[in-house]
């Protein structure tokens, strides 16, 4: 068990190293990626502008407190575009052009190889930087104490967010095992993604229920800030962790099913 973990950690290290070398090859592209993500970030910051200009309070949380939520969303978006986005876009290609075949013959997990091979080091930089700054401002303004317990709890919930993000956003890619055209589905997934830009409190109850229990999208950005604001007990944090692991197991099974279908249906 420990040896396998070490092997995968080492492989992931090589993935990152490889991606870094390849990206440094095209420095122009690197700068361009930075720029593209920055422009997207600017579009997101328009929401911040609206919040501050209207002095919006949601559930008694002032604009500075809302920065915790918008910042969390921005940070997780950064991790998503950096660690997962490129891979999930490539999976349909692997299926279509048969690159999956060679990956299947390797003595490592196929899901690991196919869904984590590429790491983009340029895209997440603006998101993570600006997101952390926003969280910092919110943290300070809401007078949240900077204790180990707060940081640990927040970090744990950030991890939960990443697991859920992986599980939810890989679904369009999984569909590509069965359907040829899935571009539109991932486009929709991306536009749903931005529903997380605000605390879920602005949505009506039924939307909140769907987004928490059916498709646990709202867990991604809400639980971290709510925990910091003292509105989320450790019990819920634990439940979120358990839920995200359960979701991961479900996605793992779904993945295996999809690959089994691939192996028996193609020639």
């Amino acid at each position: 068990m420990f040896r396998t973990m070490r092997k995968y950690a080492r492989l992931y290290g090589i993935f990152i190293k490889n991606c870094l070398i390849a990206q440094m090859e095209f420095r122009g592209n690197f700068m361009m990626s930075l720029l593209v993500e920055s422009v997207y970030l600017v579009a997101k910051l328009l929401y911040v502008l609206v919040v501050f200009r209207t002095d919006l309070h949601v559930d008694g949380i002032p604009p500075e407190g809302l920065l915790l939520f918008i910042g969390m969303h921005t940070v997780v978006t950064g991790f998503y575009v950096g660690l997962f986005f490129t891979n999930f876009m490539k999976i349909p290609e692997y299926v279509k052009d048969g690159s999956l075949d060679l990956m299947l013959t390797k003595p490592v997990s196929l899901q690991f190889m196919a869904s984590l091979r590429y790491v983009d080091l340029a895209l997440p930089i603006p998101d993570i930087l600006v997101g952390l700054v926003m969280i910092g401002i919110g943290w300070h303004a809401m007078e949240i104490p900077l204790t180990f317990l707060h940081i640990a709890g927040f970090a744990l919930l950030l991890l939960v967010s990443m697991v859920i993000t992986y599980c939810l956003m890989i679904i369009p890619a999984l569909l590509s095992f069965r359907f040829v055209q899935t571009g539109a589905v991932s486009e929709i997934a991306h536009s749903v993604w931005d529903a997380n830009n605000f605390p879920m409190a602005i949505y009506p109850t039924w939307v909140r229920r769907i987004g928490t229990f059916v498709i646990p999208l709202f867990l991604i950005t809400n639980f971290g800030p709510l925990f910091l604001l003292g509105q989320l007990s450790w019990l819920y944090a634990g439940l979120a962790l358990a839920g995200s692991l359960l979701l991961f197991v479900a996605i793992r099974l779904l993945w295996q099913r999809a690959v089994r279908g691939y192996s028996s249906a193609s020639s």
């Binding site: 200009r53 209207t54 002095d55 949601v58 539109a184 749903v192 605000f198």
Partner: protein, 269 residues
């Protein structure tokens, strides 16, 4: 060769092309719904909290109407040919048009309108439904003249947005990695045109400054003509300015393409 027949053939090719991607278009509309919904909830929260009747000079009904209409109009006028034009420039596809008796500009324009024809119809139907619903709820005071002017300015917006994008495309003659560039420009143009939020959120001075650019005349202006926010006098004035920009951009696109094309032929593609 009869010019009219040639261009009607290109137009119908554009229509057929759009038919092929119709599923993509409908899913795209579905995708456009989510940001509109999110904004709807945000604005609802904003107005409920502030308790004021109007924010940024918009009433609650007006801002919701703006959000929906701006979302639809941005989808309608969106150009998707940037990458194709860039490919034509980079891979020598342009040569086909240099030796044929058809202008590349004419080909792109007519094919663009062909591709948009059906969507214009669908969008018109959707708009009809929304306008009816909004006026029934009292969020919109329906005036025939505004409807007509909206239809005209919408065509103008389509044309103006085409011209802006066409001018930007000329940069493919000079820049190496171009696909990222188009992502940036189209998003920026959309923001400056008021496609995401009404321009008023940027503050009075920014709105004033933007009036001197072509961007508000693609989304912000047509939507406000319909919603009744633009006053009667300003409506006609705006229409004139819109067509002024269109004429200017026709000239500008000719110029940029002629200059760039000279470079293209000199290098030999």
């Amino acid at each position: 060769m009869n010019r009219r027949r040639l261009y009607s053939a290109i137009f119908s090719m554009g229509v057929q092309h759009s038919m092929e991607y119709r599923l993509h278009f409908f899913l795209g509309l579905l995708g456009a719904m989510f940001p509109i919904l999110v904004q709807y909830f945000i604005w609802t929260a904003v107005y409920r909290h502030s308790g004021q009747a109007a924010l940024f000079s918009y009433s609650y009904g007006q801002i919701i109407l703006y959000t929906i209409l701006a979302g639809l109009v941005s989808k309608l006028i969106a150009t998707q040919f940037e990458q194709q034009i860039a490919d034509d420039i980079k891979n020598g596809g342009l040569n086909k048009y240099l030796i044929k008796p058809v202008s590349y500009f004419g080909y792109r324009l007519v094919s663009f309108f062909g591709q948009k024809a059906i969507y214009y119809g669908i969008t018109a139907l959707l708009l009809g439904g929304i306008i009816w619903f909004a006026s029934a709820r009292g969020a919109l005071e329906l005036q025939a003249i505004r409807l007509i002017l909206f239809a005209i300015t919408l065509w103008g917006a389509l044309l103006l947005n085409f011209l802006i994008a066409y001018c930007i495309c000329a940069s493919a003659f000079y820049l190496h990695e171009i696909s990222y560039f188009f992502v940036i420009t189209s998003l920026l143009v959309n923001i400056l045109s008021g496609g995401m939020f009404p321009l008023e959120i940027f503050g009075e001075s920014v709105v004033k400054a933007l009036q001197f650019t072509p961007f508000p005349y693609t989304i912000y202006f047509p939507v406000n003509v319909l919603s009744g926010k633009t006053e009667v006098a300003a409506m006609y004035q705006g229409l004139l300015i819109q067509w002024g920009w269109i004429l200017l951009f026709i000239g500008l696109s000719r110029l940029t393409w002629q200059v760039s094309m000279k470079k293209y032929s000199a290098v030999g593609g």
